[in-house]
Symmetry: C2
DNA sequence: CCTGGTTATAGCGCTACGGCATCGGCAGTC
DNA sequence: GACTGCCGATGCCGTAGCGCTATAACCAGG
């Protein structure tokens, strides 16, 4: 079954005549007769009742006619959508984000804005851990990755830094340090700590350990895990925490403290593979940049008030 | 855009490799490369990112792939439905009925039963006056006609008689003849009558007039129209009426009487064009025959009680 | 009976497609 | 670092499908 055959068939059905249809299609009538006959032979179904003064659709022909019209329409939309997709104005953009980013209002808001502003493009979100995002980008599993990461990036990957955050320390509300507002690393001596895992996140682990030691702190690692607020609330440990999430994570029983001498920047960035850079991707990048424009730099200096009780 | 191209494209997309796709399609790899390139040239869009170790869909390719798959699926259903339609197990059967038939429970019930029993077939009803049904059948506007009619039928038309009815006389409830149960034509002398129109229904008119004259009645024609029950109720005229509808038409203020010496049979029949006879048509015919099996013959002898008060 | 309309059939030429042989690029291996 | 496989692209040739013209067969209306 060839599309040309269907086109021809529709023309004959609409004109009710091989002659007129042939004229409309700009081909000769015999050729048209043959092609329609071919279609009937292939389907083993009579599509027209022929008479000496024109043709009429059979019941089967009637059905095929509506079906064929639908197929033609769908073909047209396929063409259209493919073209739009090439311009990044249609299709699906797969966005990978870490659990931390997924909890950030600004990031989610920017994606929502993109969805509305780039009509026809569906942004599909996937939770992808930081350490897997570059691989996922390379394999094409995601088109865009949102994570906390600093250069270097692998070759072929483009990125934009969006915003810098800092580490704070999350402690139980009745902890001896609660209410201090800000501390130094050395103040955490003797505390059980939640700490990045050296196997899951070796870079972060090394960096963090080095920073602690620079600040005169040999951390006592209670658990190689992060973000377990309930453990902090129970007073089982203190935990380093992303300042961007500290306020929203400050559930009952915990509060957070600034750390004056912890100088590890947390860089939120968006990355994509240059070869898969489409207008839709760039649009989302631009929206993200705009969404985070207010807090591009580390806002150590403009610290917001501690919301601890 | 050729279906063959789309098939090829889908194969390459699914296999992620021209070589493997070519093997699956049983063609050589170079031919496949060319055809996919043709498709890309036509759409002016890159569908694959080629590398020395395989290919990967671009965003546009991703979109076209899902679209193409849908088109293929729809093509398959088109094939399927066309075949089914040829067997009369799919599609639309246009049924023409007169207003009188449309008021008959048994006819409507049979069509409903057909709708349920022949899944996939949609029975579409059209009100078509008796005198236009043969033309509509010939022009293919309807596939099946239900009307009161006796042979002869035009050539090429098949039919089945379904049931015979008779004429009764509808009179106002306070009419001098009301309560008589049955009368003779001569009893209607001097009555104003509703009578078939000689222009709209010449056959019926002639037949009816002849029958009246045979019965010794020279009808006084008040209006060339039928079925105007409210006129009868107001006592402005009496009217001949189809016995099948007399009971249901006996609204407040009217009743009906048998006419002993009016021997014009009312033959309910279903007709169709032999050349457009499909299993769906035959199925509906069979269901209609079954639905009317109980009253195939004129039931003059088994007259049901007059429901007039 | 002829004329003008319809669709179907026959024979010819071109285009598009598929086949084979080969080239060029990249990765893993010895 | 050359070698070997595996990949997609390119060049060239034969063929099958499609459209063309000419013509037949059929039917209705003048």
């Amino acid at each position: 079954m060839d599309l040309k055959h269907l086109r021809y068939f529709i023309a004959v059905a609409e004109e009710g005549s091989f002659h007129r249809a042939a004229r409309r299609l700009c081909i000769a009538q015999p050729a048209l007769s043959r092609r329609v006959r071919d279609l009937e032979d292939e389907l083993e179904v009579a599509l027209f009742e022929r008479s000496s003064r024109g043709v009429r659709l059979t019941a089967a022909g009637e059905v095929l006619c509506t079906e064929a019209r639908q197929i033609m329409a769908q073909l047209e939309t396929a063409r259209e959508r493919t073209r739009l997709a090439a311009q990044g104005r249609y299709g699906t953009v797969n966005v990978g984000l870490t659990t931390v980013v997924a909890q950030m209002r600004a990031a989610v808001a920017a994606i929502g804005a993109a969805k509305r502003s780039v009509a026809g493009v569906n942004f599909k979100l996937h939770l992808v851990p930081s350490d897997q995002q570059m691989g996922a980008l390379a394999r094409g599993e995601i088109d865009l990755g949102l994570q906390y990461r600093r250069p270097p990036y692998p070759p072929g990957i483009a990125y934009r830094d969006l915003r810098r955050d800092r580490y704070v320390v999350m402690v139980a509300r009745d902890h001896r340090l609660a209410g201090r507002g800000s501390i130094r690393l050395a103040d955490l001596s003797g505390e059980d700590m939640l700490f990045p895992s050296p196997t899951l996140r070796p870079e972060t682990y090394r960096e963090m350990l080095a920073a602690c030691q620079r600040g005169g702190l040999e951390p006592r690692i209670a658990l190689e895990a992060e973000g377990l607020v309930s453990m902090v609330a129970e007073g089982l440990a203190v935990s380093l925490y992303n300042s961007a999430l500290a306020a929203s994570a400050a559930i009952d029983g915990v509060t957070y403290l600034e750390v004056e001498d912890l100088d590890i920047p947390l860089q939120l960035a968006v990355a994509w593979e240059k070869s898969r850079e489409t207008p839709a991707v760039l649009a989302l990048v631009a929206l993200l940049e705009r969404g985070f424009a207010g807090d591009r730099t580390d806002n150590h200096t403009t610290r917001e008030p501690n919301n601890a009780g």
